[in-house]
Subunit: 325 residues, 2 copies
DNA sequence: CTAGAATGTGTAACCGATTACAGAATAACA
DNA sequence: TGTTATTCTGTAATCGGTTACACATTCTAG
């Protein structure tokens, strides 16, 4: 391994000079700078980030805490995070936490042990209690979270409900996400704020987790439980897809007999037949912005907007009936 | 920040003793060990991994290089990797590389700068040339790769083709992945080894990348190009799903008019209607085993099987016609 | 009872960077 | 020319751990 000492020796200067040339601090003569640069190239030297990190008590790494990597919403989120982080010279340490487990605390300790510069977390109740460090909450955001990136879920709910009542709703079933997930409540609120003033008939079914397995069993269950429904507002695309499949299997035609709207706009929602109409959450954008916000927090830039609220959008495909207007 | 010095002072011993107690090397008296342990608890001390890493010239981190995080095959892979790594006390640094770009080299340098213990890579042509370190290739594996985890793609191709010819194939279209992806060739070989001895009519269409966008345009293209087909063997589930959607949109019934088989068994293939019959690649298993293999390589365990070949399986759902036997 | 092995402990060097500080060289200016 | 300000450079301390080495103590055995 080539160290700064080797470079110094090769260039005939001290390590201090090499370091100054590298980091462009302090005074370095033109002559010295050139010698150092050519030595660096010749020896193919690159500084050891670990040694830097030890001295600086921080590093060029950020920790990422996710509740379940295998959730299809996350890949795009991660891509946004990775891209933004990389552009800012940071790399990402991955932490996957089972929903509800206390592994989050372990990861926070681990991140601290690695001198990470900050943490991005989509896990509720992530505390930097013991190890205070910059942190940005993602997606599952609470009131008290200082820095956060999230989507306007009330609006998302409104958009979804609006799309439904514009299209001969009939009997509506709302599949609501678990109350423990902050966004789920807001969506339901949004939906109800639209439905309640009308005389549309609706029922609410609350689900537990967001896993595929649960989506499948829920899909069967609701048909058994509620019989004839004409419109379904799902808590996310996973559930919407599961419901669509179950409906088709039972011989219903979509959207003629049952119309379905999802939430998230995961990449797959456009690959099913009929294409799923859904509320788009800008996953890539959210990740990108969150990483950017974290980096700015790390750099102690002045930040006017610490809580970034992104707007969801209605993406119309073919799982809803024709609009009435 | 609590350091080993603070613990030493608090326990009334030297830092060397604390270190020995921590790592359970060397001699430490029972009495000293107890004092150290209670000091650690009282002060809530945890060792700084960066300082350790600097001295040891290695760390408890492994680098992960993926060609495209947003590919739906990867989440499960990552979950497997993360889980296995965590069980072995390692954490994962994420690297996303655009297909074909040279960012891979940059990441390898970055990993080296971070003293990672090893690298897991699904990017072709990943070289530890300049910075030799343990490496395990994943998924996209070449002959020369020393340590690798991959699936038996020839067998996968055979399984897919077999499933098709067992079920009134008619005219078959093979959508083959890009020749640059090692596995794609093997799959095609497997498929042809089954089809060629029969008198089944087939055509081959080669695709470029593995993106959703390409899948959609390809789906349209093949219907325009080849007109009536009765069976389609897709290069992966993404393409299979896109084809199914396009077929349904054009009024074909699946599997009656056209039967489709995919590859990968991504979680979504069970959420479409009709359920996609496909060849399952054990993504979680692959990730788990790869991380495990890497850790063993890092530990310099003796390893009997450096190249782990996993077996794909046929997962029967509803996108193929009834078997004839 | 004593030599030698086994056990326990602390001091200090080391890992590879950054930077405070002091001293040397050069520039600016009267 | 002498004085001061500016630029340049090297030595050494530092970050928080690990471990080689030396020394002290205890144990074992003859």
């Amino acid at each position: 391994m080539v160290t700064i000492k080797d470079v110094a020796k090769h260039a005939g200067v001290s390590v201090a000079t090499v370091s100054r040339a590298l980091n462009k601090n302090g005074y370095v003569s033109e002559k010295a700078r050139e010698k150092v640069e050519s030595s660096i190239n010749e020896l193919n030297y690159y500084p050891n980030e670990v040694a830097r990190s030890l001295f600086q008590k921080t590093s060029k790494m950020i920790g990422l805490l996710l509740p379940d990597i295998s959730n299809p919403y996350f890949p795009l989120l991660m891509k946004g995070i990775e891209e933004s982080a990389r552009e800012n010279g940071y790399s990402v340490i991955l932490g996957n936490v089972e929903e509800g487990s206390k592994a989050g605390d372990n990861y926070m300790r681990l991140f601290a042990q690695q001198n990470v510069a900050g943490v991005l977390s989509a896990v509720e109740g992530t505390l930097s209690h013991h190890h205070p460090m910059p942190i940005v909450m993602l997606d599952r955001v609470l009131e008290g979270d200082d820095y956060a990136v999230y989507t306007n879920d009330v609006k998302g709910g409104i958009l979804a409900a609006q799309a439904i009542i514009d299209r001969k709703p009939g009997k509506v079933l709302i599949i609501a996400g678990p109350k423990s997930v902050p966004g789920a409540i807001d969506r339901l609120l949004g939906i109800l704020s639209v439905l309640n003033p009308t005389d549309v008939e609706y029922e609410i079914f609350e689900t537990g987790s967001y896993t595929i397995k649960e989506a499948e069993t829920t899909a069967k269950e609701i048909f058994d439980l509620y019989g004839k429904m004409n419109s379904i507002i799902a808590s996310n695309d996973l559930f919407a897809l599961a419901v669509m499949k179950e409906a088709q299997q039972r011989g219903y035609q979509i959207p003629r007999d049952i119309q379905v709207i999802g939430y998230d706009n995961i990449p797959f929602s456009q690959l099913v037949y009929p294409g799923l109409t859904t509320i788009s959450q800008p996953a890539f954008q959210a990740g990108y912005q969150a990483a950017d916000l974290l980096v700015r927090q790390i750099r102690k830039d002045t930040i006017s907007n610490k809580r970034i609220k992104l707007d969801p959008e209605l993406v119309v495909r073919d799982s809803l009936r024709e609009s009435e207007e």
